[in-house]
């Protein structure tokens, strides 16, 4: 049995149908538990006060902002190489989700930065890379929308996505290469525990909740794209030659 059979739209729809509703329910329960815990049951930090509670939105959103771009890049690469429409459609479906999570990361970062750094924004390597990545998300979506021919739109958007992967990488690793105002990773396997359990456990819960929400949104949007493609094919088939 090959993994590539899921590149068949009908097979993809069949396999994902029973998963979507449980994912939505799981996302709702986990978000309520994670954010409820974060807001009402975590203590203020001894240095940052209650602003530490922004971490429960900022870190999961930033992780998903970057990882969604990597997922899009992999899907685009597979689409270009193997010509699987579902790959292109998954990348297309992921773009608004990644853009929304990037916007959440940028806004929560600015709102957190103001009281802690004394400024809403600095043009340091990580923040600038994330902003450019956000523009790549917008550019990718605009390119899909601007081209009527789906095959051409898929190819050109995929190339644009692969170009922008540099900024997704910079967003992830800029703190290692440049002196930035932004701190290093809060969660690191190599560096050991850098965050107290009072914050770490609800943070893990929020990260899982955001990933489940991402999966629910991705599958729903990918299924929508497949339906739109099928509807377009039916309309073309109905037009007399």
């Amino acid at each position: 049995m090959s993994l590539w059979r899921y590149a068949n739209p009908a097979e993809f729809m069949r396999v994902t149908r029973p998963v979507v509703v449980p994912l939505w329910i799981g996302a709702g329960v986990l978000l309520a538990a994670g954010l409820g815990w974060a807001l009402f049951f975590t203590p203020p930090d001894y240095q940052q006060g209650s602003t530490v509670r922004i971490i429960f939105l900022h870190v999961p959103a930033a992780m998903l902002a970057i990882n969604t771009y990597f997922i899009m890049a992999v899907a685009s690469g597979i689409g270009l190489i193997r010509r699987h429409h579902v790959s292109f459609l998954i990348a297309k479906a992921a773009a608004p989700i990644g853009a929304a999570f990037t916007l959440v990361a940028l806004i929560t970062g600015a709102v957190w930065g103001q009281p802690m750094w004394g400024t809403w924004w600095v043009w340091d390597a990580r923040l600038t890379a994330v902003l450019i990545m956000f523009f790549f998300y917008l550019g990718y979506m605009a390119l899909w929308a601007a081209i009527d021919e789906p095959e051409k739109a898929a190819d050109l958007s995929a190339v644009l996505c692969l170009v922008g992967v540099v900024f997704a990488g910079l967003s992830r690793w800029a703190v290692l290469f440049f002196a930035t105002l932004h701190q290093g990773s809060s969660l690191s396997i190599e560096a050991g525990q850098r965050i107290d359990d009072a914050f770490r456990t609800p943070l893990y819960l929020c990260i899982v909740a955001f990933y489940v929400l991402f999966l629910a949104l991705l599958l729903m949007r990918a299924r929508t794209e497949i339906r739109l493609r099928r509807a377009r094919a039916l309309r073309f088939a109905a037009v007399p030659a």
Partner: protein, 50 residues
């Protein structure tokens, strides 16, 4: 969490409100698009049936 006398409460509330608004809009748009596409496709398939 007690918001009384917390000098940072406005920042925390602003961050959560902005995130809820963005993610809420994304979810609403995704659900609406899904329903529209499903309805559209079902209509087309019904028309094609003999």
């Amino acid at each position: 969490m007690s918001f009384a006398a917390d000098p940072y409460a406005a920042y925390v509330i602003a961050a959560y409100a902005a995130s809820a608004a963005i993610l809420g809009a994304l979810i609403w748009a995704s659900v609406a698009a899904s329903r529209r596409a499903r309805r559209d496709l079902e209509g087309l398939e019904r028309e094609r049936r003999p």
